[in-house]
Subunit: 299 residues, 2 copies
């Protein structure tokens, strides 16, 4: 559907996601002022809101209601924000800047930043459970969403990926290891984002699993495209320095596949993602457009 | 019931909790070996297993089945273990020893220790959701347990308590502030432990709330008794140096109440905890004995 206007779609969803995230920590807090401020600082520091938008788009693709999927969508962004705060800590990547702003620990100190991450993470589980208790989704859907999120972000998912990524830093690793790290650090949470949207929408298992496959493919494609952009991209367009992975001692998809090989692999993953959506109708057009955008973007 | 043998009761429950915790991370792990080892290192490093035992005892007091409460009990210990790993990090309390063993980050490095804490924490939510999906508890009970745990450990609970505790370090704070910090850092998770045991046992709301009150009181009493022991205790019996709080610049209940005042407050809290159990029958005897033990223990 060449008429689909992805830019307007994204701007629109970003606005609603921002408003929902803001509302989570909107109340003044007399006791935990510093913690609340530091949580808000990172959560509301911008970003493309890819995971929540994918969650909402997946719910839509399954005929579900966007408002019902919003708490799960926010939970996924809370988890993403938590991983970024912890990733930036001195004991991890030791970054001073994130999206052009000082990182959380640079502003609030390491201890408060660690706690801000933990606070955002916990809030993710809290809001999904609360929605179920209030009758906004079934408790069965909440259990499935909670389980899917926990396994995705957990020790055999994102956290595991970060662990083996640290171990691999400065080492020569093969293509399979690069893919394992990327799958766990990035793709499983993208996959959980669309799967949770489908679960909240009451989709049957085969739809949930088709979206999981779509999510894994675009999650990998996202990183492959990033690695390609990092080599060929223009520093100004990317908004960060190029060649940063090399400096950090990280092996990229370009390292193990070469530049043409990495480009081809991104295209293959796009084809696979679109194939996973074969049985979906026009309501999945935003998901298709998002997949194409991820592979063809120039920043 | 003066016949109740608390020592045997505790030894028995500790054994079953240890076995259940061990089983959570028993499988060999070909990819995430370091992370799994570091998670096991801290989770299985001993400890009294107070929170899981309280959870099991609360389920029992409400006429519930111990086996059904075991995943929630383990989840509470996973959360406790996560807070200990993070508390020991250099950016927090910077401790090298925990229960006489090198702390997690001393053995595995700060980055892996951070991730081990996060992994244990996530596993807590995963196992409760899994039990519900498998039909071991109702999905409604899982949503309530998840919500209660998340709010207890979250930014207005344990994490918030840690945040204001850090801010208060080296400051002169009043009795109310000492109590606020202790309530959040310690008592809310103890309260959640017994409340979750009651929820899993299918107890009515008034029983859940009575146990919550019991838990808050013994949680505070535990810290008050600890502060008293820290002043009057014998270093050998405690297994750690005395006067450590003073050295760390932390204001204790003894500081704000005096030694006799703190002893009286512990007794008052015990009375309150036992009063909360007034409508419970003999099945709550372990909870009563645990409350008495917390206040009268000498180590």
């Amino acid at each position: 559907m060449s008429d689909f206007d992805l830019k307007t779609y994204l701007t629109d969803r970003q606005g609603r996601v921002e408003a929902a995230l803001d509302a989570l920590l909107a109340e003044p807090e007399p006791i935990f002022t510093t913690l609340r401020d530091s949580m808000r600082y990172s959560l509301l520091a911008g970003g493309k809101r890819v995971r929540p938008i994918l969650c909402l788009a997946a719910a839509e693709a399954c005929g579900g209601d966007e408002a019902r999927a919003m708490p799960a969508a926010c939970a996924l962004e809370l988890m993403h924000s938590y991983t970024l705060i912890h990733d930036d800590l001195p004991c991890m990547d030791d970054d001073d800047l994130r999206r052009g702003k000082p990182t959380n620990h640079t502003v609030y100190g390491e201890a408060q930043a660690l706690l801000a991450g933990n606070g955002l993470f916990t809030l993710a589980f809290e809001i999904v459970a609360k929605q179920a208790i209030d009758g906004g989704i079934s408790t069965e859907a909440a259990a499935r969403v909670t389980h899917r999120m926990a396994t995705a972000i957990g020790w055999r998912g994102v956290i595991g990926g970060q662990s083996i990524d640290i171990e691999a830093t400065g080492q020569t690793i093969d293509r399979r290891r690069v893919e394992t790290i990327c799958t766990h650090k990035t793709a499983v949470l993208i996959a959980a984002s669309v799967a949770c949207g489908a679960i909240v929408a009451g989709a049957p298992d085969e739809r949930v699993e088709a979206l999981d496959r779509y999510g894994r493919s675009i999650g990998l494609a996202f990183q492959v495209a990033d690695d390609v952009l990092n080599v060929e991209g223009d520093a100004a367009a990317l908004g960060k320095g190029t060649g940063t992975d090399e400096a950090a001692g990280k092996t990229t998809f370009v390292d193990v596949l070469g530049l043409p090989g990495a480009r081809d692999y991104a295209k293959y993953l796009l084809t696979d993602a679109l194939a996973a959506l074969a049985d979906f109708d026009g309501k999945a057009e935003p998901l298709r457009a998002l997949a194409r955008y991820i592979v063809t973007r120039d920043r």
